[in-house]
Symmetry: C2
Subunit: 341 residues, 2 copies
């Protein structure tokens, strides 16, 4: 089959690889119908050291079950399923608490002999814990929105949930990438009425407004902080959907005393400014890698009945062989998020 | 009257100062019955630059109201009252949310013409919002425990509350100072059954055990982290009651995935390690300066009926003129916490 590998910064290739087969009785094999490129894929695409052996990549996919191991009971051949961006057993103490990303038997796609999502098929470890059956046919127009449950919408939702967004909280969303826009949508879904979106790409912030943003602030840094504070006095919740240190610093700056800054952009920094300002203002820093598996069933009904349309973040669709160009388009900000179909 | 001033590191003096008088109609004057020295007073005592003009110091006191301004309605001359370590109006948006430390009309004792607590009397701004009347006589044996509501017990309680301590959470308390011991007491009061106290002063950790600690870990750093993880696998909640960077690093290290590290020791660092480990494990960093005023009424009943005895953290009592020696005794770890009576 064909699958995507990353060989280093700027070097993504689609190649022939062995077809996936069941290796453990808890495995399933899924033929991929839709996958996509994630903002977090752009970090290795920007900076990974060149290697001779490529690494499989992609962690968001939905498809049809083609084969299941003897122990798999929750999905069967022919089922349409979506996979979260981390696989997990669904039974360990962390999974039971809803923190599937810390599963004792879970792991990431694309490493340690596990397939990546940007390919024609995927061997899914811990299939019972990982896969969620979708009660629709593979011809549904909802596939893009259903695919966002794998990561981007679940991640935006995680930002909103951990920040404590509700109808009583004001919200700042930092970043107009696909996660930021999904965070706007998630915050609105949880009842927030005042949502400030910080971003400078007009086409993206326009979609953000349709998703529920009430204000858009294009300024950055101290200027951006001043603008949000002028508009709101600082917000109760801040959803930091970028991952850079300046974005985190803006997050702290726009938080109201007692506020919560939730990070869902993978931090590209190791040290952060959490000294006396954060302490004196009782600002909480929360969030982290989203346990998407915990959210899929919660979010699924609203996607199925069209109350939310997170799939609108996909603005470009390419076939698998054009994935390398999709990375470059996203890196160049020419595409918001690329669907692979 | 006599009051304490700090002139620089190692230089605390008790001097004659003008008697306090009402300046605003919302002021009260309180004759101090009990005050004390705080662990946080030791930071300037360790490092403040020498000055010619001293600064009033002390932020924990209880006493008897001697005079009230025309607008003061909740306390009257003769009332026994306790003051939280930050004064506040009790009416602004932050006070109404319980975050009195961010009061729009509040402030700190000892600065900007406001008296410090380590003196014979104090002019109390925003008396209605600040002071809490105590329903006992000034001869009660409960004065030490009642005084801890001003800061140390309320601060330990803040750590426990913001970390989300309950009967379902395991707890690590970092630091066997008075705040750490009060955090143990607060965690136990909130129902925690497994409380690991990290500290190396045997007499203090012994009191910690009486307050509810089930385990004591004397090791520090990586060794201390390994020990707590061996005992508990990492705890759901961590109450960081020191304020140094190594203490915070231990806090991160002993937190379970999905755990919450609450800081109530004033950070002596500006940057902290909040990169991918914290993110990947969904660890929340919370806490901050404790809104003691919000907690006094909640904690008061348990202090009054003796269910908790936070006043046991006072191991030395001195008259006001010996406060300078009290600072030195605490700095030398010869006293846990000094009561001024």
């Amino acid at each position: 089959m064909r699958a995507t590998l990353i060989y280093g910064a700027g070097d993504v290739r689609v190649e022939d690889v062995p077809d996936p087969v069941l290796r453990a009785p808890s495995d399933a094999v899924v033929r991929v119908l839709r996958s996509c490129v994630c903002g977090s894929d752009l970090w290795p695409y920007a900076s990974r050291e060149a290697t001779e052996q490529g690494q499989r990549i992609g962690h968001e996919f939905l498809g049809v079950v083609e084969d299941t191991g003897a122990e798999v009971t929750t999905v069967k051949t022919g089922d349409l399923v979506v996979a979260p961006f981390v696989y997990s057993d669904g039974t360990c103490e962390f999974c039971r608490e809803g923190l599937h990303t810390s599963c004792r038997n879970g792991g990431n796609w694309g490493v340690h002999g596990v397939d990546g999502g940007q390919g024609e098929a995927v061997r899914v470890p811990q299939a019972d814990g990982t896969l969620v059956k979708l009660p629709v046919g593979e011809d549904t127009a909802l596939l893009p929105s259903l695919l966002t449950l794998s990561d981007v919408f679940s991640t935006g939702h995680h930002a909103a949930v951990t920040a404590g967004v509700s109808e009583r909280t004001t919200v700042t969303v930092i970043g107009d990438g696909a996660v930021g826009l999904c965070a706007v949508l998630a915050a609105r879904r949880l009842g927030a009425e005042r949502i400030v979106l910080m971003g400078r790409h007009r086409d993206r912030t326009d979609l953000g407004r349709e998703f529920g943003a009430t204000d858009v602030v294009a300024e950055r840094g101290e200027e951006g902080i001043a603008k949000v504070r002028e508009l709101t006095g600082g917000t109760h919740t801040v959803l930091e959907c970028v991952g850079t240190r300046p974005a985190f610093e803006m997050g702290i700056g726009v938080a109201r005393p007692g506020g919560r800054v939730s990070r869902v952009g993978v931090p590209q920094y190791t040290e952060g400014p959490i000294g006396r300002y954060v302490f004196g203002n009782n600002i909480t820093v929360t969030g982290g890698v989203a346990p998407a598996r915990n959210y899929i069933e919660q979010l699924l009904p609203d996607v199925l009945d069209g109350r939310v349309e997170p799939g609108r973040v996909f603005d470009v669709t390419v076939p698998l062989d054009e994935v390398p160009a999709a990375y470059q388009a996203m890196a160049d900000c020419k595409a918001l998020k690329v669907l692979v179909a």
